[in-house]
Each structure stands twice: as structure tokens, then as C-alpha cells.
């Protein structure tokens, strides 16, 4: 079964922030995840770009403050991008 976008984002967040996957929910945010600082934020953005073959604008990078909004953004970009 193909993992959902949420599951894939969860996996990347878990790897980068060093938090077990099952503890990462849509509500997890820069506030609740200690390792999610500005350096890791850039790494997170780059990892998502590489994984889904998309690019985020600076404005979008600022919106990605929790997992739920990040997943929505990725989903929207994947729908819009020509496949």
C-alpha cells in the first residue's frame, strides 16, 4: 500500500527531528517539537522538496509551522504540479 502524504511527511519529520513517528501528529508544531528550530526548518523544507520533487516559496516556508499545514501545502502542490 502506498503511504499517504501524511505518513511520508511524518517519516521525514521523525528522521530529522529525532522524534518517534507515532508521536508526530497533525498538531505537532515548531512549538511542541524541540528540535524543530530554524536550521532544521531549512533541512525539513529541502527534504520535502527533494522527496516530492516540488519547490516552496519563502512565504510558504513561513506557513509551515505545524505538520498539518505542511501536509496540506504538499498535497496542494502535488495536485497543481503537472505530472
Amino acid at each position: 500500500m502506498t503511504p499517504t502524504i501524511f505518513e511520508q511527511v511524518q517519516r521525514i519529520a521523525s528522521d530529522l527531528f529525532g522524534v518517534p513517528g507515532d508521536q508526530i501528529t497533525r498538531e505537532s508544531s515548531t512549538e511542541s517539537i524541540e528540535a524543530w528550530d530554524s536550521t532544521q526548518h531549512l533541512n525539513f523544507v529541502l527534504a520535502l522538496e527533494e522527496k516530492f520533487n516540488i519547490q516552496f516559496s519563502p512565504e510558504e516556508m513561513d506557513q509551515m509551522r505545524n505538520i498539518g499545514s505542511t501536509v496540506k501545502l504538499v498535497e496542494r502542490k502535488l495536485q497543481n504540479s503537472p505530472r
Binding site: 517519516r11 528522521d15 530529522l16 522527496k51
Partner: protein, 635 residues
């Protein structure tokens, strides 16, 4: 198939193995995870887990400083994960943006306090030559030439200053060309001469100057960044938006390529190269199965699909010229395989290109072990190339030290995989490297000759051994440094030294660096050993004493020691002393001092200390060895 779809959860398996204390097995899982998913997420996971295992694994340590004018932080986990998977525990430090000139020039800077083994100078053309990069059309010709001069001079100054303050290796990025020259297609129309340089011509000129500067300094290497960017596509390489917002000029999906290029320098610098490439035959060296398809049926030749295999064979021949030995390990009937290798008209590799062959039906791990012992190298000096994933897994499980190369499914990608492998990269090439295949062919003749003699001594006399011992010269420096870095077995102290460090030792008062060359009736072995000694008032201490494993056991080591002892005595030293520092690999050198009459003085956790009273004892030169000494031109 995406790795996330696999039923196996390698992350979970690795964590469970770490928890149960199985470091080796955990490392295998981590390496597999890294091969399957070479992205930022996997990199972070792999690095964090290797950090827990670092004390339990045989990892080489390497300290790398990065001097940069852009954000490199996201590349570091990719580089460290790949390094761990290559057996290197990499510690990385980087300076502030654009602070590299001060860091290089200031002896007290964090760069030098970090005491790196190597440093990378990664700058952007836009930072070094902003005028040429961003407003070239405004510049008068004289200003362009001036910019070329200015940038070349700065680079030279920094390289010189770094060399003066550190003996670490230095890797310098070349300057990249713009994706779109400011004068458009006109750029290519201007002549390439100093009085009318185009924008691309000016950058090319700086790169040529840089090449000369790098070549004039020891332990400084050029990374052709412009070629790297071109290889992966200039327009895809960059991400202008990330540059403007995060000072990160490289697109997310290209970062891996920069990390891999850096690794191609770090692996040889950390001594993690492979000395031997062992290849499978059917569906690796040619398409098809020789035992079933026969000479007429296998695929090898200038046309598709045979061309893919010819390209791989060409890549193997190129490696052989780089000093990497080739060997065969194949499940086949010996006669079928040899028939194809000897007589197939399109075959580029022939039996004489292989230093060892195991063509039989035995287990491959067993054959690899035999090949290593036949060639007198450790199993960790082997790389293994096989199209069959099952064979690869079995070898990985049985011999985790072997560098098992993952061949992609499409044979057209085989040659590139071999050419890209970090383990086959070399930063310097000696004459010995280029002739290694021939040296080993002569070796085989020698061992055949040995079998027909009654005694070892008779055999030595027959060999007509001739050694030449000389102080270090500029021409022998690179090879001497290479020997200290690569020799594992007959090496009394295993002290690794860069060219720069050896040159410093040779220039120091009271210190001697000797090299030994060996010739015999079958040919020239080239420079095969190094001895470094240091005098104090009464005693001469051996700092380094090593001999290439190819020539151990022919009393050449005794000849070198004899010379060292008689020289020390003639300089008035009363005692010759030396440490034996045991490693996992230098057992062949363990009894060397005892066998030559040295007395054990002390022993500690590091090793044992031996002395020889030069007033009472000498070490005889073996009578079958002809000694030539050469005063040479000292470095």
C-alpha cells in the same frame, strides 16, 4: 519500488539491533537503508544511529573543515551519512559566511584550533569575482584582466597561508560559469586571449591559474566544481529563491551530488580506498551466461547490448591504470570462462589484466578471502562487483569489511557506477600505481620460480635482489607519503603522514627520511619502503619503518634495518631504538625487532619499546642483496 513500500522496516531493525548490542549487524542495516533512501530524512536517521555505534565499529576518524561563502549546512548530514556507510566517522566544522579569508589568515582562528585533517574551500564565483559575474558588460577589457589577476592572487595567498599554518589536505572548488553569460551568444564569439576576454573566458582563465597554483602546493587538490555543476545540469543545479532567502544556492535534489563529490575526496584522504576490484563474469563482465550461451551467444561488443559491457570493461582498464588490481570471482567452469577471456574478439579485458582468479563453484566469500591472501592484502582492501543481488548480500553478511558495490539493474549504468565509486578515487598517482598490474604479473612468475628451489637462500640468490636506499627526494615524496598512508601489514608504528608532514620531517635537523627501491631479475618493484629516524644525543629512534606487503619476506626489511643501524652508528649514536605499536593488521612485523637482536625495554598499553646497543652489535646485510646507496637531493 519505493523503499517505504518494503515490508521490512530497516529503521526499526537497526534500532532493535542497537538495543541488543549487535553493532556490526546494525551497521549493515543502516548502510542498506542509506543505499535505499539517500535523502535528507534517511541521512539524519543514519547519522544519529551511527553516532551511537561509533565506539563499537572499526571507523576511520576524519576531521573536515568547510570554508564557504554559502549555506552548506544541509549538505553535511548527507555527507556524514555517506561517510559512515563508507567506514569513516566524519567530524565537520564550518566557519561563518564569507569569513574564510580571515579564518585562513589568522593563525589563532577556529579553523586551526579545530586541527582539521582536511579542509574544503567552497566559494561562489559571484563572491570571488562579483564584477565579472554580475556586470561584465560594464567592464573595460583592462578591468577584466585585472579581475582575473586579483582573484588568482587572492586564491594563491589563501592557499599559501593555509599551507604555512596547517599540514591538512586542502580541497579548493573551481569557479563555476554562469548558466547564462551576460553577453548571450556573443560570449562564445570573443577570442580567448588576455586582451579580449569574454565573461566565460575570464572565469576559465581564473580556473587555469588556480590549477597551476594547486599543482605547485603539496596536499592541495582541485575540485572541479564547474564540471560538477555542468554534469548535473547548470539550470537544475541552482535555486535562486533559496539563495535569496536562505543563502542556499543549490536546489534540494542536487545537494546529494555535492556531498558525493566531497566524499570522493574524503574517502582517499581518510585511507578508505579499495586496492583490488573483484569482478563476477556472467551478466557483469559480459551479458549472458558463457556456460549456456557459448562464445557466440554472450553479449560483448561495440553494439547494443554488448556495448554496455564493453563500457564497463573500459572502466576496469582505466582503474587498472590507476593502480587498482583486478581479480575475478565467478561461479563458472574454468575452461569456458578462460576461453571467452582469451579468445573472444570483442573482449577488452584479458587474463593478463587479472592479478588473481577464482573461477569455480565455491562460496564467493571463501573465494574473496583466498584472493585477499593471495594478493597479500586485507579483506577490507577488496571491492566486489556482481550483478546478482543475492551474491552481494551473502558477501556483505559474511565479509562486512568488503566494499560491495551495488550495480544498478540496467547494464548501461554499470560503467558509470564503477567510475563514480569513491573507493576507486586517487588524488595522486605514482609510477608504481600505473604499473601495478605488470608488477603482479611478474610476482606470479616469481612464485612459480620459488617452488623449484631447495632452500629460501638459493631462491634469494636466484632473484638477484638489488636495493637502493636514498634520502627522500622531491620525486619520491608523494610515494613515500602514500606508503605511510596505505601500508598496514609490515608497518612497525602505522603512523599516517601527509606529504607536507613527511617533507617537514625530512627538513628537520637530526631527522632522516630514507626510502628503499627494489629490483630483481623479474623487474623493478619501484619504491617499496620508508624508514624515518630521529637522533637525540646518544640514541637514534625509529619513528617509522614500513615495507610494502608485496615484498615482505625477501629479507629486504633486514637490508633496510641494517642500513639504518650502520648509518646511526656512523653518526656516533650508541643505541638504535624503536616502538612496535600493534594494530589489527601488523602482525607480520611483530617479531621484527626481536629477530634482529633488539632487547625489549618496556611495554605499555600502546606497544613495546626495543633497543639495540650499536657499540656491541651490528645488523648484517643479507649476502644475496646488492646495496646501492644514493645521497640524492634532499627535500
Amino acid at each position: 519500488m519505493s523503499a517505504t513500500l518494503k515490508a521490512r522496516d530497516l529503521r526499526k531493525e537497526a534500532d532493535e539491533l542497537i538495543a541488543s548490542g549487535s553493532a556490526d549487524l546494525a551497521a549493515l542495516r543502516l548502510a542498506e537503508l542509506w543505499r535505499n533512501e539517500s535523502g535528507a530524512g534517511a541521512a539524519a536517521f543514519v547519522v544519529s544511529r551511527y553516532e551511537k555505534l561509533r565506539e563499537k565499529l572499526p571507523l576511520a576518524r576524519y576531521r573536515l573543515a568547510i570554508l564557504r561563502s554559502f549555506t552548506v549546512e544541509p549538505v553535511i548530514p548527507l555527507l556524514r551519512a555517506a561517510a559512515f556507510a563508507s567506514g569513516i566517522d566524519l567530524t565537520v566544522q564550518f566557519g561563518d559566511f564569507n569569513a574564510y579569508p580571515q579564518e585562513i589568515l589568522d593563525e589563532e582562528s577556529s579553523l586551526y584550533r579545530f586541527a582539521p585533517d582536511g579542509a574544503i574551500l567552497a566559494t561562489r564565483t559571484a563572491d570571488l569575482a562579483p564584477d565579472v559575474w554580475s556586470h561584465y558588460p560594464d567592464l573595460a577589457q583592462a578591468a577584466v584582466a585585472e579581475a582575473v589577476q586579483r582573484v588568482s592572487k587572492s586564491l594563491e595567498q589563501w592557499i599559501k597561508a593555509f599551507r604555512k599554518r596547517s599540514s591538512a589536505a586542502l580541497i579548493v572548488h573551481s569557479l563555476e560559469q554562469p548558466a547564462r553569460p551576460s553577453t548571450g551568444v556573443l560570449d562564445a564569439q570573443s577570442g580567448f586571449n588576455e586582451s579580449a576576454l569574454s565573461q566565460s573566458g575570464a572565469i576559465q582563465q581564473i580556473n587555469q591559474e588556480l590549477r597551476k597554483i594547486v599543482a605547485a602546493h603539496r596536499g592541495v587538490y582541485l575540485l572541479d566544481y564547474d564540471a560538477l555543476v555542468a554534469r548535473h545540469g547548470r539550470l537544475r543545479w541552482h535555486d535562486e529563491r533559496k539563495w535569496l532567502t536562505a543563502r542556499m544556492p543549490i536546489a534540494a535534489d542536487q545537494l546529494i551530488h555535492l556531498s558525493r563529490e566531497w566524499l570522493r575526496f574524503v574517502v582517499p584522504l581518510a585511507g578508505k580506498t579499495a586496492k583490488v576490484l573483484v569482478v563476477d563474469l556472467d551478466n557483469t563482465l559480459w551479458g549472458g551466461v558463457i556456460g549456456e550461451d557459448g562464445m557466440a551467444g554472450i553479449q560483448i561488443g561495440a553494439e547494443y547490448p554488448g556495448a554496455a559491457y564493453q563500457a564497463l570493461q573500459r572502466a576496469l582498464l582505466d582503474l587498472a591504470r590507476r593502480g587498482i588490481l583486478l581479480a575475478i570471482c565467478s561461479k563458472n567452469n574454468l575452461d569456458d570462462a578462460l576461453e571467452a577471456l582469451q579468445n573472444h574478439p570483442s573482449m577488452l579485458v584479458r587474463p593478463s589484466h587479472f592479478a588473481a582468479m577464482r573461477i569455480n563453484w565455491h562460496d564467493k566469500a571463501l573465494n574473496l578471502r583466498e584472493i585477499a591472501s593471495e594478493l597479500n592484502v586485507g579483506v577490507d582492501a577488496l571491492a566486489f562487483l556482481d550483478d546478482n543481488p543475492m551474491e552481494r548480500e551473502q558477501v556483505r553478511a559474511a565479509l562486512p569489511q568488503v566494499n560491495v558495490i551495488d550495480l544498478p539493474p540496467d547494464p548501461l549504468d554499470y560503467a558509470a557506477t564503477v567510475r563514480d565509486a569513491p573507493a576507486f578515487q586517487r588524488l595522486v598517482l605514482s609510477d608504481e600505481d600505473q604499473q601495478r598490474t605488470e608488477l603482479y604479473a611478474a610476482q606470479r612468475e616469481r612464485s612459480q620460480a620459488q617452488q623449484s628451489f631447495q632452500s629460501k637462500e638459493d631462491f634469494f640468490r636466484y632473484l638477484e635482489l638489488e636495493v637502493e636506499i636514498a634520502p627522500l627526494e622531491p620525486a619520491t615524496l608523494a610515494r613515500a607519503a602514500q606508503l605511510t598512508q596505505k601500508t598496514n601489514q609490515f608497518n612497525l608504528t602505522t603512523r599516517r603522514r601527509t606529504e607536507q608532514q613527511i617533507a617537514e620531517l625530512a627538513a628537520r635537523a637530526g631527522s632522516q627520511v630514507l626510502t628503499i627501491r627494489l629490483r630483481d631479475r623479474f623487474g623493478d618493484h619501484g619504491l617499496v619502503g620508508v624508514a624515518i629516524t630521529r637522533d637525540d644525543s646518544a640514541s637514534c629512534e625509529i619513528d617509522t619503518f614500513l615495507l610494502s606487503c608485496r615484498v615482505i619476506g625477501r629479507t629486504v626489511e633486514t637490508a633496510l634495518l641494517s642500513h639504518v643501524a650502520s648509518e646511526a652508528a656512523s653518526r656516533g649514536r650508541q643505541q638504535l631504538a624503536g616502538w612496535f605499536l600493534p594494530t589489527k593488521k601488523n602482525a607480520p612485523a611483530r617479531d621484527f625487532y626481536a629477530q634482529h637482536g633488539f632487547q625489549l625495554q618496556s611495554q605499555n598499553g600502546e606497544g613495546s619499546f626495543w633497543t639495540l646497543d650499536l657499540r656491541q652489535q651490528t645488523i648484517a646485510m643479507p649476502e644475496w642483496i646488492r646495496l646501492k646507496t644514493n645521497e640524492g637531493a634532499r627535500v
